[in-house]
Amino acid sequence: MHELQALIQRKISPQEINVENLVALAEHYSQPHSAEYKLVELALNIVLASYLEKAQQLV
């Protein structure tokens, strides 16, 4: 979760995030009303947007 906080604070870039870890966090924090779920969701949105931008260059 520290990694996600750093991502949200723009201290690390989305491409530096370990994607296996993201899947594990999403599996672990599955309660939509919890603060952890919202933090994971925000981080996922940032990372997914970044991967979409990257993918766009390759299609």
């Binding site: 949200i8 994607v19 899947v23 779920y37 925000l42 997914l48 947007a49 979409l52 390759l58």
Partner: protein
């Protein structure tokens, strides 16, 4: 899409883009990977990833994406098309020389908008850029020149023209009347002099005109009856402002029972109209309603007919409303200061025009992901209204002219130091309502 699904899409994109970058795939596998990426873009086609989806569509289907983009704006009816050749664009744009806009696309440069700023004038050209950049340029020009009419305005004008044509054919049998300007001026209520009883207003001979007009702020405004599906027995009219067409961009003006003498004795009403997603559409300005109940009924019936909703209705002195109606800023101020809120929906926040906000954020911090209903948090200091929270909310949609907001006031003890102090103790990302609550708790203590 829930978080687990998103995380799996990220994993998949990570693997696919990695393989494509390493060029480790066969031709067949490359085609398959690209095909899967395209289907992921379809899965992610939601407002949250609007920027990425638009960029993707612009790359794979540039002309079609520009067409879709233009058709999605409030100026779609004035749009003349997407072109790759200047000559073809000019031909289409200048075929209707009064107004209009078009998009030029060139693969090496991107997009460029051509906009006719005034009737019979040569088009203004934006710099080359992506669709959002050039459209933002067009909105800036529109703010200055007001050359385009929104689709809704054009539709209303067509309806009005059709009504006029119909009325002209039955002039001899019509029972319409005109209120002469001088008589109307004498009947304007003032605080010093009590108004005359309604029945003492002299009726004006019907033969004086075949058109019905209403005098607003010394402007003679044609009116046209507006049947309401839900209230067929009520007499409600739309007011047209041909001398000030810009008003129709931010307000629908209506009048009940167009007796000039009567309507200015009655309070005016202003409602905020929103769409089903909660996005601000326009104000609704209503003169002549008999009471707040009737105003509420009219506002809801009118907005439902246009597939909109009402967010709130306030009562405003009609003489004040009449004078403040002709600029969005002054109508907003007039609405904001009206104390008489007669109805509002649940979870209501008032709306503020974008042009009144200084949108540069002074204190940078991470914000929670917004929805269209998320209010901006603003600070009023001296004559300026500055953004505290809402950078993401402002970016959520391209064409909003007003945003829901909560206004904090420096005069009530809220300072940048207090905001910074509160932010230091709130976990990131910061929720706007928690921020306001924490600020209010600190200033109250």
């Amino acid at each position: 899409m829930n978080t687990l699904e998103k995380s799996r899409l990220i994993k998949e994109l990570h693997d696919l883009t990695g393989a494509l970058e390493r060029r480790s795939l066969s031709l067949y596998e490359t085609a398959k990977a690209k095909s899967r990426i395209k289907s992921i873009f379809v899965e992610c086609d939601q407002p949250l990833f609007k920027k990425q989806i638009l960029a993707y569509k612009a790359q794979v289907q540039p002309e079609r994406s520009a067409e879709e983009f233009a058709r999605d704006t409030i100026y779609a009816r004035s749009f003349r098309g997407v072109f790759q050749q200047v000559e073809a664009l000019e031909q289409a744009l200048y075929a209707q020389p009064d107004s209009g806009w078009a998009i030029l696309y060139q693969p090496a440069s991107g997009w460029q908008i051509w906009l006719i700023p005034a009737p019979a004038r040569t088009a203004l050209l934006s710099d080359w850029g992506n669709l959002e950049q050039v459209y933002r340029w067009m909105l800036q020009q529109q703010h200055q020149y007001r050359s385009l009419h929104t689709d809704l305005e054009l539709l209303n004008q067509q309806n009005y023209a059709a009504t006029q044509a119909f009325q002209n054919t039955v002039t001899a049998r019509s029972s319409v009347a005109i209120e002469p300007e001088a008589a109307a001026q004498q009947l304007k209520p003032t605080k010093a002099a009590p108004v005359q009883p309604e029945q003492q207003a002299d009726p004006v001979p019907e033969a004086e005109s075949s058109a019905r007009h209403l005098l607003l702020n010394q402007l003679s405004c044609p009116i046209s009856e507006l049947p309401l599906d839900h209230l067929p027995a009520e007499k409600l009219c739309r007011v047209f402002l041909p001398a000030r067409p810009e008003v129709m961009q931010y307000a629908d003006v209506l009048v009940h029972d167009a007796e000039q003498a009567a309507l200015l004795k009655r309070p005016g009403y202003v409602a905020e109209q929103i769409n089903a997603q909660g996005r601000f559409i326009k104000y609704l300005v209503l003169f002549g309603a008999l009471d707040a109940m009737q105003a509420t009924r009219f506002a809801h019936a009118f907005s439902q007919q246009h597939e909109h909703e009402i967010a709130a209705i306030r009562e405003i002195d009609s003489a004040v409303l009449e004078s403040q109606l002709f600029a969005l800023d002054s109508l907003f101020q007039c609405y904001q200061h009206a104390e008489q809120m007669i109805w509002h929906k649940e979870d209501y926040y008032p709306f503020i025009p974008l042009q009144l906000i200084h949108t540069q954020k002074f204190i940078q911090f991470e914000e929670t992901a917004p929805t269209l209903a998320t209010p901006l948090i603003l600070l009023k200091e001296r004559q300026k209204i500055r953004l505290i929270h809402g950078q993401q909310r402002l970016q959520l949609a391209r064409t909003e002219q007003a945003y829901p907001y909560i206004l904090l006031d420096r005069q009530q003890g809220v300072s940048w130091q207090i905001i910074q102090k509160v932010l230091n103790h709130l976990p990131a990302p910061v929720d706007p309502l928690r921020l306001v609550q924490a600020i209010q708790q600190l200033t109250a203590s």
